[in-house]
């Protein structure tokens, strides 16, 4: 593999590459993110942003209590978020655990949602604490069951102890399993990496190893998709494009619950990576409760008043 011609796959070249990246000044990054959070998005641009955000949602259920019934309901909702208004776009994908992939795929096909992809969390999600053999099999299983997108976790323990090449090689191996069959999203779990310098390093590491998307979090660790973290990841994909002419996607996940939160994310994308990334193929939002708030705000714009929560479905 060529790794974009930037590293040769050896420990030394990876280490040297990540070492030469400029640092991130935490105070400055937080200030920039806070400034962008003051953007006031109104009327027509708000309506546009809500529909765009809906089309970017990876509608997610990742619970021990997930059942086929729950997953099927989620799939129906993903395809027709508002059954009374078919102008509402479908979401970006449905995101489930490995064993629910087949059920989700089957149900989506049965309702005519052939184009709506199923994303599977993989590699011993959320901790990633399993043998490589298990992680590879986890991924293979999900793809065979119909997953078109794999959301893998990185080995944060290895990253924090400086064994960067291990993290890198794991991603490369999962990339190989995915091949052309599935898109690969690499979850950095930024809440465990803690510093923005680590976020930048991990972003480049994942992109070099072959990620199609870099994703903030599993949703199981707080803090998750904070604005400064997303800012730094968006800067990383922007600068990586300058280097390679390849656009890598970004997926914030965890803690994005309201329309306001989602619109702030879109503003971050617009003014950092640029409008090219305002597309479900390059930006996704991992969420569950968010979708209903987007639908409520959408109704508010079309009807002029806030409807009762009973007018949006609870799945």
């Amino acid at each position: 593999m060529s790794f974009y011609g930037l590293v040769d796959g050896s420990d030394t070249s990876l280490r040297n590459y990540l070492k030469q990246l400029p640092g991130v000044d935490q105070v400055g990054a937080e200030a920039r993110a806070a400034m962008l959070a003051t953007r006031s998005i109104k009327t027509t641009s708000k309506a546009w942003a809500i529909d765009t955000a809906i089309s970017m949602v990876d509608l997610t259920t990742l619970e021990g209590a997930d059942t086929p019934g729950k997953v099927q309901a989620l799939c129906s909702k993903a395809f027709r978020p508002d059954p009374t208004d078919l102008t509402v776009p479908r979401v970006g994908a449905v995101c489930v655990y490995n064993d629910m992939v087949g059920i989700a795929r089957q149900h989506l096909d049965s309702i005519g949602a052939h184009e709506l992809p199923v994303a599977a969390v993989s590699t011993a999600f959320p901790s990633g604490r399993a043998s490589m053999a298990v992680k590879l099999q986890d991924t293979e299983d999900a793809i065979v069951a119909g997953a078109a997108e794999i959301d893998m976790v990185i080995d944060r323990g290895a990253f924090l102890s400086g064994r960067l090449i291990e993290v890198f090689e794991e991603i490369v191996a999962i990339r190989e399993v995915c091949g052309d069959r599935a898109h690969l999203k690499v979850i950095l779990e930024t809440g465990e990496l803690v510093t923005l310098d680590n976020v930048r390093k991990a972003s480049y590491l994942a992109m070099l190893a072959g990620a199609d998307f870099i994703k903030t979090s599993t949703g199981k660790v707080a803090p998750a998709a904070t604005a400064p973290v997303v800012l730094v990841m968006l800067e990383a994909v922007r600068d990586f494009y300058d280097l390679t002419k390849v656009r890598i996607g970004v997926k914030p996940a965890g803690g994005i619950r309201t329309t306001k939160d989602a619109i702030k994310q879109l503003v971050l994308v617009n003014e950092t990576a640029g409008p090219e990334w305002l597309n479900p193929s390059l930006f996704r939002i991992g969420a569950s409760a968010l979708l209903n708030d987007l639908l409520m705000q959408r109704m508010k714009i079309s009807d002029g008043y806030y409807a009762s929560p009973n007018y949006v479905t609870i799945d």
């Binding site: 400029p22 640092g23 991130v24 000044d25 105070v27 400055g28 990054a29 200030a31 920039r32 003051t38 953007r39 006031s40 998005i41 109104k42 009327t43 027509t44 641009s45 708000k46 546009w48 942003a49 765009t52 730094v232 800067e235 879109l266 503003v267 617009n270 003014e271 409008p275 305002l278 597309n279």
Partner: protein
């Protein structure tokens, strides 16, 4: 896909602007004999008619201030003075939106800045100094301190309310009374502040506001009944004031121009550095005495920084200052715009490379696109003279010593910025730079507790902090 932000204007309805204003003298509104218009620089709409203060108006104000000093203000304990300052600060917070909208209308600065910077910082200055009022004798200033008496204060148009707060809050906290003249183009928030003084029940004559132009300022500077002059403005006028005051007993503090060096070392955190450069020169349309108007880049990263800077500048939203999404507002006056144009034309004529952000400018009002000049050397006028607009001159250096040499090679010495991830580098550079305010890995950060002021032709004395207080006390050892 294109994410256009629909207009999000802040409502004007919170402010009430009178068609004509008088002076605020001895707690009352006094009609002026002559008037001039104040306009909204973003639209050239006439906002109001402002009284042109005569020498007689200044004399009445000084007498009122003297009377207030003798009869009421100097008799109050520090704790009682502090109460009034706390009250003013709270009213400013309560009326924050009104102040922000009015400031934006009269000055042209974006509502985001007046709302998030000017007004909260102004209130913070009153809170900070309110806390000092009853501690002056015991908290390290001096035990034998006394106020000067009547203070004449002349402030500029770039931060009308904030500069008023910088001047009035320490003067009142230390027991002085005030005759203040706002800048000719930006009187409205000072006149609103006069209403706040009334609302706070401040004794008559403690704060007097006389509006007007340079002739009014001159009447204040030359009035024999004034004990101290505090001026913020251009170095040119500062020198005139220094000459006028030299043969008198008046005390004097001056906060003047600058040509701040923003030095970027090769190891800087590039993305945040670019943000800092933008904030350093395009904050408040570059109408900032401490602006980082000279970018001094290490050659090893110069291309990368400039490329990112240009991309970032294309994202700067220029337009209606009342729109909450506007980043860069209007130039304050036709006169200032002419000055910016004159200096940028000189930059081009002297061979520097001009690049301006790709943005549409409104047709009415006074506007200037964010602009950088590359290939600037120490010999260019745009590297030496204060432009006071959204124009950045870019110079490069090879070694740290060269950076310091270039940074210090100016008659000014107000501010400087250092961008480096290496602590020892920052500490070394701060020791070498001859500037009153030095920021490391940030720019244009202000705090009432932090003294502000310049070296060389950037001024005399400090404002803010304990150092700023002592300027309003006579016989102060420090």
């Amino acid at each position: 896909m294109n994410f256009e932000y629909a207009a999000a204007p802040e409502s004007r309805s919170v402010v009430k602007i009178d068609p004509v204003y008088g002076h605020f003298i001895n707690g009352k509104w006094v009609s002026g004999s002559a008037h001039f218009n104040t306009i909204n620089p973003a639209t050239e709409e006439v906002l109001s008619s402002i009284a042109l203060g005569s020498a007689a108006d200044v004399d009445t104000a000084v007498k009122a201030a003297r009377n207030a000093f003798d009869k009421s203000w100097s008799k109050l304990s520090g704790r009682e003075r502090g109460k009034y300052l706390f009250r003013i600060a709270r009213i400013m917070q309560e009326r924050a939106r009104e102040f922000a909208v009015l400031e934006t209308l009269d000055n042209g600065k974006p509502i985001r800045e007046s709302r998030d910077v000017d007004v909260p910082l102004s209130a913070a200055h009153f809170f900070y100094h309110a806390g000092w009022a009853d501690k002056l004798e015991y908290a390290g200033v001096d035990t034998t301190t006394a106020p000067h008496g009547v203070v004449g204060q002349i402030i500029p148009w770039n931060f009308p309310l904030l500069m008023l707060a910088w001047k009035v809050a320490p003067a009142l906290a230390t027991g002085n009374t005030v005759v203040l003249k706002p800048a000719e183009t930006t009187s409205l928030t000072a006149l609103l502040f006069a209403q706040v003084c009334q609302q706070a029940g401040l004794p008559d004559g403690v704060v007097n506001i006389v509006t007007g132009d340079g002739s009014t300022g001159s009447a204040i500077v030359n009035h024999p009944g004034i004990d101290k002059i505090a001026f913020t403005g251009s170095t040119e006028v500062g020198k005139l004031i220094a000459r006028a005051v030299a043969p008198t007993n008046k005390s004097l503090t001056l906060e003047l121009g600058g040509k701040g060096a923003n030095i970027v070392f090769g190891d800087a955190a590039i993305d945040e550095t670019v943000e800092g450069i933008v904030n350093g020169i395009f904050f408040n349309q570059g109408h900032v005495c401490c602006a980082g108007s000279r970018l001094i880049l290490q050659e090893s990263v110069a291309d990368e920084v400039l490329e990112k800077l240009k991309r970032r500048m294309d994202k700067i939203r220029v337009g209606d200052p009342l729109d909450k999404n506007t980043d860069l507002g209007a130039i304050n006056s036709a006169e200032q715009l002419a000055k910016i144009r004159e200096l940028t034309a000189a930059g081009e004529a002297e061979g520097a490379g001009r690049w301006s952000a790709n943005c549409a400018l409104p047709t009415n009002g006074f506007w200037f696109a964010p602009t950088i000049f590359t290939g600037v050397t120490q010999a260019h006028r745009i590297a030496r003279e204060e432009i006071f607009g959204p124009v950045l001159s870019v110079l490069t250096f090879r070694t740290p010593a060269e950076a310091i040499e270039k940074a210090n090679n100016t008659p000014f010495g107000l501010s400087a910025g250092i961008w480096s991830e290496k602590g020892s580098n920052i500490l070394w550079a701060t020791q070498q730079l001859r500037a009153g305010v030095i920021w490391a890995n940030t720019f244009n950060k202000f705090d009432p507790a932090s003294p502000f002021g310049g070296y060389k032709e950037s001024g005399w004395g400090r404002e803010g902090g304990r150092h700023g207080l002592s300027a309003y006390l006579k016989g102060s050892a420090k």
